[in-house]
Amino acid sequence: MTDQKVLEIFHAKSIISTKEVQKINESEKSKPFSLHYELRILLYLGIFLLSSGLGIVIYQNLDSIGHTAIVIFISFLVVSCFAFSSWKKQNFTWDAVEQVNPFADFTLLLGCLSFLTLEGYLQYQYSLFGEKYGLITFIPAIVFFFSAYFFDHRGVLSMAITAFASWIGVSISPLAVFSKNDFTAPYFIFTSIALGLLYMAIGLLSEFRKLKQHFAFSYLLLGSNLALIAGVAGVFSEHHKYLYTLIVLAISVGLFFYAKIKQSYVFLLTGIVFAYIAITEAIFDIFPYNSMRAWFAAYYFVATGIGVIFLLFNLKKILKKS
């Protein structure tokens, strides 16, 4: 359906006047074509390729270039990136800051990534931090958190969240949560849940105290994901099964209400899926291993599947009542 046709329909119902039809037509004709996302992706890709290439070149040409030259070069890159971002920075507020300069975001990102390279290089070559490995992740975490709030950058915030988790010893990024973390190690589940809950608490605080409200999503998404995955790992483990089931349920219920208030349904989805897994595992743990188990499983999944569908389908009605 063309815009022309749409306007005809609205006009026929006498919702809009002939004059407005003309106005909208003109506006649609002169509307510029936005290349925002295409250009952004190209720029991101460029930064990614450049910082990858830089990493390789530096390690390969250690002998010929000389350490001092490398350190000076990367430091220069880091400093100039941060300097440019500071120069173009808007005044700090606890709200979202409208970026005026389109490049300040990217230079900050390039600066932060190069900072990681620089730091790794210094430690690798000069053992800057000696045996204190913790500092390698702790310092970026501090720098990133500061930059994220100071320059109002959500991407850098998620880098900070990851670096801090890494300092604690937990991989928080969505793919690595599964592959890199060893949930069978003692205390690991507990640490992960505690960290996840901490992030969720910070997220809620920023949301309801209006301290960089738009940061809440990153904290809550990464935090709840970590806490729930660790919790479910606990449910499947040998010890304190039911305690972990309760924790997962509590977090899920919390997310459910948060999703309801903020209309942010990604949290509803995670809450429902994890709660379902935890409850199912707990129930099957109780059910004895005998010939009835297969029957029970078939009936259980059909009944609960339909049950959850029914619940979601009537979500609006249920939410209205409560």
Binding site: L42, F48, I56, Y59, A163, P174, A294, V302, L315
Partner: protein
């Protein structure tokens, strides 16, 4: 013919247009509300995340209803597994379609996750039936695909489902490739056959877009368009043709042998991305533009795969610098509208908020590398090379 009411799709299109104009200040709030009242959304289509949840749980319920049926008729299965499977799949397929139709008419679900789940389950059931029947005949693959095609076509025409549309296109390509490979001449001309097919399909899709009920199929026709453009490029891309040729003729060497008409394929590999980008910019067509950028990337990969003279890291540096330079320059130029282009984001074209996840992934990788190197690699130079492979 159609399962959903055309009215639903039309109204939701009208509402989204009105919302767009309202956000740009071309319509007043009263007008927007009036349009919402006049053209109500009288169907059930929840938020995308709820749709995902509904889809998952529909599939769960479907899969376990089949296993429940299996448990009930287990003894029959043991006696004659083939008949048992046919009857089970047929019964389940018919039941799914019945449920799907009932829910659409009574509960007015429209692409809600439930209907998608039921539709896919029904199709899988019917395809299983056909496959079980055809298995003893040992037919060639293209003929088997042809036999299951009607289900997908009927499902597509009736439900206009995007995933079904993708499957149809892949089936068509598979049929054509497999059929061509049975002839010597088909083998030789395969790239051109595929190119012609893709172009033909493209024009067919463009023709379909002129139908009066185009809106009903809008999303899936866009998918078709993307697929035809992608397959047109891939069918004559030098890398695909050269490696594909080696695979078809079962040549096992470390480097696939050179192909005939190589210059022609170089030409296509270079030309098509440029054409896509130019058409995309000229016709303001995002599908063309996006595919142009993607195919340009693939062409570049093709070039480096065979003729990579400069080492990877230098290529990375050059490309990175060039990309940053070009993109920065264009962004700088497009701060004000020029030639009808702008850097300002479209209000109605919202990107996914996935940079949070991507950056988290990137930093995790980088930090993990530092840690591994330092804790286990010590100061050995061998560990250093890993530094750039994120």
């Amino acid at each position: 013919m159609k399962a959903y009411q055309q009215q639903w799709i039309d109204n939701s299109f009208l509402q989204s247009k009105a919302q767009d104009w309202f956000e740009k200040g071309l319509l007043s709030e009263e007008q927007n509300i009036e349009i919402k009242n006049q053209f109500p959304l009288d169907f059930y289509q929840p938020n995308p995340f709820i749709r995902i949840a509904l889809f998952l749980f529909t599939c769960l319920a479907c899969i376990f209803s089949v296993s429940l049926l299996y448990l009930i008729f287990e003894s029959t299965f043991r006696e004659s597994p083939k008949t048992g499977l046919t009857i089970l799949a047929l019964a389940f397929g018919i039941f799914s379609v019945f449920l799907l139709e009932t829910l659409i008419t009574t509960k007015k679900i429209f692409q809600s996750g439930i209907d998608n789940g039921l539709l896919y389950c029904a199709i899988v059931a019917f395809v299983t039936v056909i496959y079980v029947q055809l298995e003893p005949l040992h037919l060639p693959a293209w003929l088997e695909f042809t036999f299951i095609m009607p289900f997908f076509l009927v499902a597509y025409i009736r439900y206009a489902d995007v995933f079904v549309a993708c499957v149809i296109y892949f089936l068509l390509v598979m049929i054509l490739v497999d059929f061509s490979l049975t002839f010597f001449i088909g083998k030789t001309l395969l790239p051109f056959i595929m190119l012609l097919f893709s172009l033909g399909a493209y024009y067919f899709v463009e023709k379909l877009k002129q139908r009066a009920d185009y809106l009903y199929y809008e999303t899936s026709l866009d998918i078709f368009k993307t697929l035809t453009l992608a397959s047109a490029y891939l069918s004559v891309n030098y890398f695909i043709v050269r490696e594909g040729n080696a695979m078809i003729n079962k040549v096992i060497t470390s480097v696939a042998p050179q192909i005939g008409l190589a210059p022609l394929f170089y030409f296509f590999t270079i030309l098509i991305p440029i054409v896509y980008i130019v058409v995309g910019l000229k016709k303001r067509d995002r599908t063309f533009l996006t595919l142009g950028l993607l195919t340009a990337g693939f062409s570049f990969f093709t070039y480096r795969y065979y003729f990579g003279i400069i080492p990877t890291e230098i290529a990375l540096l050059i490309c990175g610098t060039l990309l940053i330079g070009t993109a920065s320059f264009i962004i700088y130029q497009l701060k004000q509208v020029k030639f009808g282009f702008t850097y300002a984001p479209d209000s109605n074209y919202e990107g996914l908020n996935i940079d949070t996840l991507l950056l988290s992934e990137l930093v995790n990788h980088k930090l993990g590398q530092h840690n591994d190197e330092l804790k286990f690699g010590g100061g050995s130079t061998a560990g250093g090379g890993a530094g750039g492979e994120y």
